[in-house]
Symmetry: C2
Subunit: 373 residues, 2 copies
């Protein structure tokens, strides 16, 4: 069919993941792709029709809850981290019902919180970071007032992969009687599989809601975001009635929504299990270590010692390096403060990818005639 | 692989579309499925990586714009009608910047407008309908005040497939200087292919934004919703900065988003063309006529003469009939006012499906021991 050939031309212009070191998404696991195909026509917006798929979603939510120390958490699989963050903050706002509400987030919070401020008519206050780019809990605490409906901590910041001191935030949440949302879109499927223990989830009593995206480190197909709530009062505050559907009410943000992400995420987690996920995470951390050493030997210096599989290197020439790499069809990203280039070592990054990348960046430095810093 | 067998068990419990007469979704076109598979790992949230896919989205938006009489419309392919409606109303709200804003929608508006009211902190005023269940433009006009940021008309109501008098609403929008959003999630890919001419799109000068969902009558894979804006000022009002991405800013609601819906929607529209879409719509309207005649011969009476491929039949026993059909694994839906059962004749509904359905509903009437009305 001609149209498929036409589409192929567009698809070929996309840059293959083997040259992408700047995304928190990755090539879906082969089992995810197979599962996805099987559920391609499903619609979780109508759970009375798609009964089996709806049941599978419940199991996946339970599975994610188990990983995050709360098997009975409520939740659903959504379009991604932004929807998950919206729904958490919206539930805090709806449960509190204060005039001119605010939330306090770390300065390092994902840009989706800027969308959320606009969308939900909520003031977003930004707390300072410490030298290691974790939120300064004293700064965060000082921004809480009577109109604060919730605070946010990040488990795996987008820029640096840093983890906020969620245990301290949990204590603050309990003390002030406000809800705590943990944005673990990235780290939620990394930290539980690391050798190092970091408390960040429902184990901590102050944590009300968690974002955890299977389409990032869970190697599920897009879209597969996840939002978990400590109990049903949170999603209950989001409910609208749904005439002309097989269900009576709906607490999701979207109406029609695919079952593909549910199937693909479930397939990967069940197929790999705890051991398999540990192996994936170990691989990514090893690649992070290798790229860090290679970059250091070129004269680059990391912004912080990497906590997970994200690493940034300080350089005044960050934008130029990114642009020059892009001309050569390599994708990295940058962060503005401190000026640095940013690499994310997702499961698709192998030692070969790193070897090719390092040789390319050497050429880039020569072409630009700049030194690393 | 064992996990795929496990998934199959869940998938088999879903009710096949051949027994579904109560959904505005359908079996995706075979070409949509092929296109979808080709783009399964794409992410339009990072258009610098997925350059080809991003370009394809622009072409699809242009294509939809051509169908809706405005090839230069701005827009994007989103998660579905709810996101599209959110973004339209959010842009109206952001451009107007009034205190305690309101919008006026028909009473027949989709339940997503209740979500929107909550989400965007906006009052949703509901205008009365006329005898034919179209919005009464006098009622709608009377609800407009200084705080009204926009009005809404529906081209293909969810309950009855009715079309509001968009031309009258357009005049009101121009007169009062407010924006008009047309929710054509369903009708946007039906009306342009009907023999009967109904003005509802950008041809009318008052229309600012249109929701049009390829994953409904466009037979694309889920998720493939669409939002079109008359000019870039609307999406511009939704923009946030996006550090650490290949783009500088983003006006979509979600961050990461799949390219599958873009590919599948483009493939179907390009493959079928205007002629092919006309044929699909003609089929659906023919099935609507057949089912209406069959139901009338059983003693049922339609709520209104069907405008497109949705038809409702008055009955005091609507809920019982729906429940009894569900026990027999047939899916229809109901509407509350007037009490009626609702059938949607999507492309997957053939004469055989109708024959099976009519024989089943006869049995249901006998089992319940009730008469049609």
């Amino acid at each position: 069919m001609d149209i498929l050939k036409e589409l192929e031309v567009f698809r070929r212009r996309d840059i293959p993941y083997s040259r992408v070191l700047g995304s928190m998404c990755t090539i879906p696991h082969p089992i995810a792709v197979e599962a996805h195909k099987m559920f391609i026509e499903t619609n979780l917006g109508d759970p009375g029709i798609f009964r089996g798929t709806a049941d599978l979603e419940k199991r996946l939510v339970r599975f994610l809850g188990e990983i995050l120390h709360h098997p009975n958490a409520e939740g659903y699989i959504c379009s991604g981290g932004t929807e998950a963050n919206i729904q958490a903050i919206r539930s805090f706002r709806n449960l509190r019902k204060v005039d001119r509400p605010n939330i306090v987030v770390p300065k390092s919070a994902h840009f989706s919180f800027d969308k959320i401020g606009d969308l939900l008519c909520i003031e977003v206050r930004k707390a300072e970071l410490d030298d290691e780019f974790r939120v300064d809990s004293t700064s965060l605490e000082s921004l809480i007032d009577d109109r604060t409906v919730g605070i946010v901590g990040i488990a795996g910041t987008t820029e640096l992969g840093q983890v906020d001191p969620i245990d301290e935030l949990s204590k603050i949440a309990v003390e002030y009687g406000v809800d705590l949302h943990v944005d673990a879109a990235f780290g939620g499927l990394v930290i539980p599989f690391m050798d190092r223990n970091i408390d960040f989830d429902f184990k901590l009593e102050g944590v009300s809601t968690i974002t955890v995206d299977p389409h990032k480190m869970g190697m599920a197909t897009i879209p597969a975001g996840g939002i978990l709530f400590r109990d049903e009062s949170y999603p209950g505050s989001l409910e609208v009635k749904t005439p002309y559907l097989t269900s009576r009410s709906q607490w999701t943000l979207t109406g029609t929504r695919p079952g593909t992400g549910v199937a693909s995420a479930y397939a990967v987690l069940k197929h790999l299990g705890f051991k398999g996920m540990k192996k994936i995470v170990r691989h990514c951390l090893k690649m992070t270590k290798i790229v860090k050493e290679e970059m250091e030997s070129l004269g680059f210096e990391p912004v912080i010692e990497p906590v997970m599989n994200v690493v940034c290197f300080k350089t005044e020439h960050a934008e130029e390096i990114k642009e020059e790499l892009m001309k050569r069809e390599w994708i990295i990203s940058t962060i503005p403060n401190p000026k640095a280039i940013r690499l994310v070592l997702m499961p698709h990054v192998t030692e070969d990818v790193i070897t090719n990348f390092i040789s390319e960046i050497k050429n880039v430095l020569v072409t630009l005639n700049v030194r690393p810093k």
